[in-house]
């Protein structure tokens, strides 16, 4: 081989290519090094490659890559060392910056994590974003949204053009017996043939339900994964076996996939069921509007609504009597479920952003204040030839180090906060997707992004201010303020801090004020010593008449009341905190325009219920045992009902009402008002609503009932007494569970309280940060003016007048922020009222409280430097000159 011919010449293609590659490797070197030595290194590369060939080129590549990176790290290391020395020199400053960052990022990460968990975590169903809920709208009854009747659903699924797959579901419940274990009440779903297809579910054994199961006489049942694992111990041969549920023997045809959820619009959430059976047309035909309908539309919702209007116009033409007053509308499921929570979470998220902005302003402010004290050092370095680029890089490294330490601490803090919140909410939360809150990767990502934003915002401002080209001349003129525009920037930052802090404090104040205004009003009943026993699962075959229901319930209630320690007990269909039902009604003799029949809350109760809750009887009488199934039908109404519809408490007695409801074998007939009771609020933060109470014996139901028991006994003891009472009357009824009204009251307003607590915590953080910011600026101002203050003192200014002067300046600085903050607060109050339905009393008390808190913070922040200013010794101050 000829050695010479293998060596490329300068202009050969091989040499140019090798040099181009060398240029790429040069990128590994820091720009400074490239600019200084790049040309020389290229020249050397060409020389060595020409004389010694490919191996020399490869060696040069490796060397430039390794050496370049080493140089970069060496630069970073020097900058970090510089930053660490700075930290040691000013530990208090470092501490304030790090704590500020940690608290802001901790609060931000935690609250953002919570918001992300609720708003951003996808609902646990297949492709939730393409799932639409379809409601029927009853135009006769105040345009209320209702579920579908079977006929309307059936018409819709055949006639629609835009809905894609349409499916219906009705929640059911049933008692499972047999298998040698205790009877157990199960929650089931009666579903149309399309149901599992809508959720793209696949069976883990056997098959799922389809169109052939949607008929009378179908005994197919699909078990949930959980039921199969618990009650049937994951029996691998379960398919084909029979089970006894709700008095019907059914054949297991398959097992649903694990963690199978579906949309239950009645409960406004994603839910699960223990078992699934086919929707029987006969059970839902003419049986009211109880079907939950969802679809996978192929078009946007405007087209869907037009399609629905067309379908319902056709329906109305066919069934003018039953369907003329009906229409339908669509809503994305994610909006239907998350919509109600969105405003309060957005309010919290905005407060978080405000706090983050305050924190960034604060960090930037602290760095600006300090940079002015480092003028000499920076100017010297600049004069010695350090490039602007190097100075900025160095300062950014320094800022990033502070913010990174604060960020890591903040991350730990946010983990602690989220853990605390999730353990507070715990499994007692009835909302499925609020359970198992965790610091997930999204929280970390969000927190990481906050860290970067904070670092860039806080780091750039001082770095740019410091690196102004006129820095040297500024130094020469003896002006200690390096950052020419720094003072104006600081004033803007403080204004922003104060304004945002006021906005957050005001929001928190308004929200918690409105909560406590509502919460402190009497509920209208007493929660202490009241346990509520839930009874369900009684056979509806066995208790098919009013007389049988009445006999059963009366016997149980009598036995529980006879238990030593029990003061009073009574049945109710719904109870405070535990549900609400509405019914239309007509007062005899009153005339209603079409479509304006009034609605009111309705409960079905037995004797003893008012006594157990201590709801006072204001006129007339309580329901009595004599109000039996065949006696004259009666009703008791609440005070607000009597006042609004019956001409007052006394005038109400003897008037007659026809309710929209009827049940079992009791015909719907006008009911005579025999009593008026006090108003109650069904939820902690809900105003009382007019209510009708019908006697259970005259409006019987056996589905789910609650026995309210006033007793000194514990809830567990009451539950045990109720269980033995129920078992002694009918052993086939499953064991009852119980809760206490105190417990329910706690959970009733928990989400609202959580919002308030988060807002209050954020307000405290914002206020603390703003206070720190004002302190930094005022104390910097005092330091700058030491000489001037010395002169003033020398000319006879008293300490008091010096303090007043400093406070006056601080107030002037804060005034714009306060004005802006009050404007923000007014906007926040408006938004709370408009979007959150927070009836906010934005009165003098709230406004003055907020102002007093903020004024106290500003005063505290300025007083410390003011006192220092008052102690300035004129001689010492002037000696600096």
């Amino acid at each position: 081989m000829n050695a010479v011919s293998s060596l490329p010449s300068d202009s050969s293609f091989a040499m140019r290519a090798a040099l181009a590659i060398f240029g790429l490797f040069l990128i590994a070197c820091p720009r400074e090094m490239r600019e200084e030595y790049g040309a020389a290194m290229r020249e050397d590369f060409v020389t060595s490659t020409r004389s010694r060939g490919v191996l020399a080129a490869l060696h040069a590549y490796a060397d430039v890559l390794a050496g370049g990176l080493a140089e970069r790290f060496a630069t970073l290391g020097r900058d970090l060392g510089f930053a660490l020395r700075g930290m040691r020199r000013a530990p208090l400053f470092a501490l304030v910056v790090i704590v500020t960052t940690a608290v802001a990022i901790g609060a931000n990460g935690a609250v953002y994590g919570l918001v992300a968990n609720i708003l951003l975590r996808p609902l646990p169903v297949a492709s939730p974003s393409t799932l639409a809920a379809i409601w029927e709208v009853d135009n006769l009854h105040g345009n209320t949204t209702v579920g579908f009747s079977f006929e309307d659903f059936d018409a819709l699924r055949h006639a629609n053009r835009t809905l894609g797959v349409v499916s219906a579901l009705a929640p059911v419940s049933g008692t499972i017996v047999g298998n040698g274990t205790q009877p157990q009440i199960l929650r089931g779903a009666s579903v149309s043939g399309e149901f599992f297809g809508t959720y793209a579910a696949r069976p883990q054994a056997g098959r799922l339900l389809d169109a052939r199961d949607e008929r009378d006489g179908s005994h197919a049942i699909v078990l949930s994964d959980e039921l199969w694992r618990t009650r049937f111990k994951a029996d691998p041969a379960i398919v084909g076996k029979t089970v006894q549920i709700a008095d019907v023997t059914r054949t297991v045809v398959g097992i649903a996939p694990p963690r199978f959820f579906f949309v239950d619009l009645w409960r406004g959430q994603v839910d699960h069921a223990d078992y699934f059976v086919g929707l029987r047309a006969s059970a839902y035909r003419g049986g009211g509007h109880s079907l939950v309908v969802v679809a996978r539309p192929s078009a946007d919702l405007r087209a869907v609504d037009a399609d629905l209007a067309r379908t319902f116009a056709e329906l109305a033409a066919v069934h003018p009597v039953t369907d003329a007053h009906l229409s339908a509308r669509s809503l994305w499921v994610t909006d239907a479920i998350l919509g109600p929570m969105r405003p309060s979470l957005i309010a919290v998220a905005l407060a978080v952003l405000a706090v983050l902005a305050v924190a960034c302003a604060n960090v930037a402010n602290l760095f600006l204040s300090r940079s002015s004290g480092r003028g000499a050092e920076i100017a010297t370095r600049f004069a010695l030839g350090a490039s602007r680029r190097r100075l900025i890089a160095q300062l950014m490294t320094e800022t990033s180090l502070y913010v990174a330490i604060g960020g890591v601490l903040g991350l730990a803090l946010s983990a602690v906060i989220v853990h605390w919140i999730s353990s507070t909410i715990d499994a007692g939360s009835p909302v499925v997707h609020l359970q198992h809150l965790d610091v997930d990767w999204k929280t970390f990502a969000a927190t990481g992004i906050s860290i970067v934003i904070a670092a860039v915002l806080a780091g750039t401002a001082p770095a740019l201010a410091l690196s102004r080209p006129d820095i040297v001349s500024a130094m020469k003129s003896g002006d200690r303020s390096i950052a020419g525009g720094g003072r104006a920037l600081r004033a803007v930052l403080v204004t922003l801090e104060v304004a945002l802090a006021i906005a957050v404090v005001a929001t928190a104040a308004i929200a918690s004020r409105s909560y406590y205004e509502l919460a402190k009003k009497p509920l209208g009943f007493e929660t202490r010593d009241v346990s509520v026993v839930f009874m369900g699962g009684a056979s509806s075959h066995k208790y098919a008449t009013a007389a049988r229901v009445d006999g059963l319930l009366r016997a149980i209630c009598e036995r529980v009341t006879a238990t030593p320690g029990v003061e009073a007990a009574g049945w109710a269909m719904t109870a405070p905190f535990l549900g609400q039902s509405e019914s239309s009604f007509q007062v005899e003799g009153a005339h209603y325009a079409t479509g304006s029949a009034p609605e009111a809350d309705v409960d079905v109760i037995s004797t003893g219920y008012f006594g157990a809750l201590r709801i006072p009887v204001l006129a007339g009488r309580d329901v009595a045992t004599s109000d039996g199934p065949h006696a004259a039908q009666v009703v008791v109404v609440s005070r607000s009902f009597a006042e609004r519809y019956l001409g007052g408490v006394e005038a109400a007695i003897g008037k007659r009402i026809t309710m929209g409801w009827s049940a079992l074998d009791v015909p719907s007939a006008p009911r005579t008002v025999v009593g008026v009771v006090g108003d109650i609020r069904p939820h902690v933060i809900q105003a009382p609503s007019p209510t009708m109470y019908a006697p259970l014996a005259q409006l019987p139901t056996i589905g789910w009932l609650k026995l309210a028991v006033r007793s000194r006994l514990s809830t567990e003891q009451v539950a045990a007494a109720a269980r033995s009472a129920i078992a002694s009357v009918d052993a086939t009824i499953p064991p009852a569970t119980a809760t206490s009204l105190e417990h329910e009251r706690y959970y009733d307003a928990l989400d609202r309280q959580m919002t308030d607590i988060m807002l209050a915590a954020l307000a405290a953080v914002a206020l603390a940060l703003a206070t720190g910011g004002i302190y930094a600026v005022v104390s910097y101002g005092v330091a700058r003016r030491t000489r001037e203050i010395g002169v003033r003192v020398a000319f006879g200014a008293t300490p008091r007048s010096v303090i007043a002067m400093v406070l006056r300046d601080a107030l002037r600085l804060a005034a714009v922020g306060i004005a802006l903050g009050l404007a923000f607060a007014a906007a926040a109050a408006w938004a709370l009222k408009a979007f959150l339905d927070v009836d906010a009393p934005v009165d003098g008390i709230t406004a003055l409280t907020v102002l007093a808190i903020v004024a106290a913070a500003i005063g505290f922040a300025s007083y410390l430097p003011a006192r220092r200013a008052a102690r300035v010794e004129p001689v010492v101050a002037l000696r600096y000159e």
Binding site: M33, Y37, A40, M41, H59, D63, G67, E71
Partner: protein
Amino acid sequence: MRRLDVSENLPLSSSGFHILLALAHGELHGYAIAKDVEDATEGSIVLGPATLYRTIKQFLADGWIAEVDGDDERRRVYKLTPRGRRIAQAEAQRLESVVRMARERRLLPALG
């Protein structure tokens, strides 16, 4: 100017010492330094471009070498400063004492 305490800079890296040694001959440009080092060490030390110029940059900053004024941006020429010369001397003396110790302990044959 504070008194130069050379001992705190020792020992030098072998590539650094060889660069100083190369410049002890006289003024050289970058590639000539690398070539000289390679020749002198019979190829056992080959200075790549980044290694060479990082060291040059550091020595310039420390004032051990200086750039000789010239026109060619790509062919910068460097020379040893008196300070650099003292550093190189100190390193050579340190190595000499190491070698002497090795001879005393019979790791190397005694001289002459």
